[in-house]
């Protein structure tokens, strides 16, 4: 365990940490259920406009109200969650494979190539992830937004993973293994198994939180994926011109996004204020 991880673990007592993690995982599970049943839960299909009822405040009929175009915001939020969450999961997967796993493997590269690789990733990671995601989205075209967000989230995961793997590589068991002629690939496999067992949930949920934030922000600033169904970021961006009057058009998508990120943070066991 790295010094930072050890310190982080020492902040909270284990039972409190376990409760937080379990709550986070249950919350993420609820979101999965919500997505699976989205077409049943959402009363209106995607983009359905009730022109005569535009700009209605939350009521018994429209519990989240309607926006300026007459969209039922409850249904739209459910549909947006069904777009945002799977996209974030895919982006998190990219970040895990190209960030966390690649960072772990980079330490064992021959001829000490790991250090230069870390240096290059460090330079790429010196750019704010949002700006990096935008550049990658421009390079990969608008259909590659999810991949771009995953790639932009990868440097942070790479660095953390690299540092943990370096501690493994310098450990006594590694020295012993090398001295007894155990192949490097076997050692890597062993360390990877231990790493996955100890940190997979944490790394995955951390990447999920970051990817969700990145994708929502990309959509908010106008670089999101241009699909028929709006994601949460685009819903918030669309609500921007009117939100001082129709607060409900902004509040509910923001709350949905915030709750999902909060669950991901809790499942990742992130410290208070720690960035994903």
């Amino acid at each position: 365990m790295t010094q930072a991880a050890a310190t982080s673990a020492s902040f909270r007592s284990p039972p409190l940490g376990s409760i937080a993690r379990a709550t986070g995982l249950v919350g993420l599970g609820v979101f999965v259920l919500l997505i699976a049943l989205s077409d049943v839960i959402a009363r209106a299909p995607v983009g359905k406009e009730y022109h005569a009822l535009a700009g209605q405040a939350p009521s018994a009929v429209f519990i989240f109200g309607t926006d300026a175009l007459g969209h039922d915001l409850f249904s739209e939020t459910i549909h947006a969650i069904a777009v945002s969450v799977p996209a974030a999961v895919a982006a998190a997967f990219v970040a895990i494979v190209l960030g966390a796993v690649a960072g772990f493997a980079a330490v064992r590269l021959p001829m000490r190539l790991g250090q230069p690789a870390r240096g290059v990733v460090g330079v790429i990671g010196a750019v704010p992830a949002l700006l990096l995601a935008i550049v990658l989205a421009l390079l990969l075209s608008r259909n590659g937004i999810v991949f771009a967000a995953g790639l932009a989230a990868a440097p942070a995961a790479f660095m953390r993973s690299f540092d943990r793997a370096e501690a493994f590589a310098d450990s006594r068991h590694a020295e012993f293994a090398r001295a007894t002629g155990i192949p490097a690939t076997t050692l890597l496999r062993r360390d990877l198994v231990y790493e996955i067992r100890a940190h997979l949930i944490s790394v995955a949920c951390r990447s999920l939180a970051l990817a969700t934030m990145l994708l929502a922000t990309l959509s908010f600033v106008g670089f999101g994926e241009m699909t028929h169904t709006r994601d949460l970021g685009r819903m918030i961006a669309d609500a921007r011109p009117m939100y001082l009057v129709e607060w409900w058009s902004l509040v509910f998508p923001v709350l949905a996004l915030m709750v999902f990120i909060l669950f991901a943070r809790m499942a990742a066991f992130l410290d208070e204020g720690e960035a994903p």
């Binding site: 240096g119 010196a126 001082l244 923001v254 990120i261 909060l262 204020g273």
Partner: protein, 271 residues
């Protein structure tokens, strides 16, 4: 000792060269190319231009990209400095307060909720608050306040971790047994440890501030370097995009080096 300085300076120079090369790879996209060979030629031309200090021409304003980026940076620098100062003013007391476990338990859930709120949503919330009578007097400093708040969030956690590490050092007990008072031990030995530990995070702190600045500039329409980046990205003005990214990366890398240098001096000072 000088070897570690040389090594770290070499690392900084190599990182900056790497950043310039990556920036050239982006600015080469601004020239028309046919296939990989054409792009290779453009890349070579872009590298040569960089060596001669030429940054390319903005396809939107037709000015040299360097002129456009230099014109936008003072605003960003102002936000960086004011946000950084506010982050220090808020984050360090907050971090000290939150080292108390009881206070952390009380404030923890609120901090988790705030951390889970995307920054652009926070900007919209503050912009709404700005329209009220209570928020209007703060209109001018609101962007700096938001950036400072984000920085404070980062600093408080860095401080708490540094304190947790420093308070666990075994020499603390040993020095007490040698007759030094708790205050003496904390001021002369533990405090430098904490400051040194926090200096290591200076680069990351700057990156956090720059990330916040990007969203704040967009949300409030502030004409800084990040706004220039967004406008250039819409028009695929690669020369400007590359230069803005290079300037952000250089700021972070230099901050990393400065943080290391201060930490190293403190460690050396402690003997």
């Amino acid at each position: 000792m000088w070897r570690s300085w040389l090594w770290r300076i070499a690392q900084l120079v190599l990182s900056l060269i790497c950043a310039v090369l990556l920036s050239c790879a982006l600015s080469a996209l601004s020239r028309p190319a046919h296939g990989a060979f054409g792009y290779g030629q453009n890349l070579a031309a872009s590298v040569v231009d960089s060596i001669h200090g030429r940054s390319g021409i903005s396809s939107v304003t037709l000015h040299p990209a360097l002129v456009d980026v230099f014109a936008a940076w003072p605003v960003t620098l102002g936000l960086l400095l004011s946000g950084g100062a506010l982050a220090l003013a808020l984050g360090i007391p907050l971090g000290i307060l939150l080292t108390n476990r009881m206070l952390l338990r009380i404030a923890g859930p609120l901090i988790q909720i705030v951390s889970a709120t995307p920054l652009f949503a926070m900007c919209l919330l503050f912009a709404w608050w700005n329209t009220s009578a209570l928020g209007r007097p703060l209109a001018g400093v609101l962007p700096s306040l938001i950036i400072g708040g984000v920085g404070a969030g980062y600093l408080q956690i860095a401080l708490r971790r540094a304190v947790a590490v420093a308070s666990g050092f075994p020499h603390r007990t040993g020095l007490r047994m040698m007759g030094l008072s708790a205050l003496d031990v904390d001021l002369r030995y533990v405090l430098p440890e904490i400051v040194a530990d926090m200096c290591v995070h200076f680069g990351a702190f700057v990156l956090v501030l720059l990330s916040a600045i990007a969203i704040v500039e967009f949300s409030f329409g502030i004409p800084g370097a990040a706004s220039l980046f967004f406008a250039s990205a819409v028009h695929r003005d690669w020369s400007v995009i590359a230069l803005v990214l290079l300037s952000f990366a250089a700021a972070k890398l230099i901050a990393d080096f400065l943080g290391w240098a201060i930490e190293h001096s403190l460690v050396k000072g402690r003997g």
